[in-house]
């Protein structure tokens, strides 16, 4: 089980790092993608875009380095739930847009929703791993 959790942690960390690094060269485009979801007020879209990438970067670093693992995995799970929510509301309203997942021009589709839900599984596994039992000194 330990190995499975380790693999999930490294995988989720790598995905978040990759997501952040691919957005860094063009944060303006990412902000425009967020605006196209038409859920946030235009005034906060720019700061939110920068913050999301910062959180993705830190979460990815924490998970791959193995520090603050549980909080980082909890944060990753929360973000994935938010991403799924954003995507579902946009697709349900028939908004045609890029997903903004890993930079680039990938279209947002129901397949993207399924992928994000699938990514949620390893993140939750790490977040919900049982704490190691406290060692007693006799």
């Amino acid at each position: 089980m330990k190995r499975v959790v380790l693999a999930c942690r490294l995988f989720t960390g790598a995905v978040f790092l990759f997501a952040a690094v691919t957005k860094l060269p063009d944060l303006r485009a990412f902000a425009e993608t967020i605006a196209n979801f038409r859920i946030l007020p235009a005034a906060v879209v720019g700061p939110i875009a920068a913050m999301v990438v910062g959180v993705e970067l830190l979460t990815g670093l924490a998970l791959t380095a193995g520090v603050f693992t549980r909080p980082a995995a909890t944060l990753a799970s929360g973000m994935l739930v938010l991403f799924v929510g954003f995507l579902v509301q946009a697709l349900a309203r028939g908004i045609d847009l890029r997903c903004g997942c890993f930079g680039g021009d990938e279209l947002a589709t129901w397949g993207t929703v399924v992928r994000d839900v699938a990514l949620l599984v390893p993140a939750l596994l790490v977040a919900l791993q049982p704490r190691p039992a406290p060692q007693t000194v006799s």
Binding site: D26, L27, R28, A31, N36, G46, P47, G54
Partner: protein, 165 residues
Amino acid sequence: MRTGIQAMILCAVGSILGLAGNALTPRPAPLREPVHAAAEQPGAVCHDLSVEIPRISFTDAAPLCIACKASFVDARSAAEYAGGHVNGALHLAPGEDPALLLPQLRSPVIVYDGDAACAVADKVAGELRALGVADVRVLSGAWPGWLAAGGPGESGACAVCGAGR
């Protein structure tokens, strides 16, 4: 409980990191000005992102024009077309009936408009593709790019495109 608080702290630190690092990126997100959805921009044109129309550069398109080996379609207004257009180009604005034009088109069909974003050309190209024209491309740089690069042009209304043009 402790995990939740630590996650919030991590989120706050990441947010500050993102805001502070934004300016260091090649194309930072605008922090002090609103960012509107593309559909809310002035002059926004409905554009189906699932229909990717390939681009063609001036370098590739100009020889096809000179050798008459392609059809050029001008998607700007009739007045703009009359003021100057690619040599031999036909005129077809978005939403106009292309019935008269279709038999005159030879492959490849190169569509252009007056704006470097090519949104109008994309729309007309999409319409032509929907009507079965297989090889449709959009001219990169549009009409201003063509002019600036010294591409062959002419002026006058289109006699063969349809009534009133």
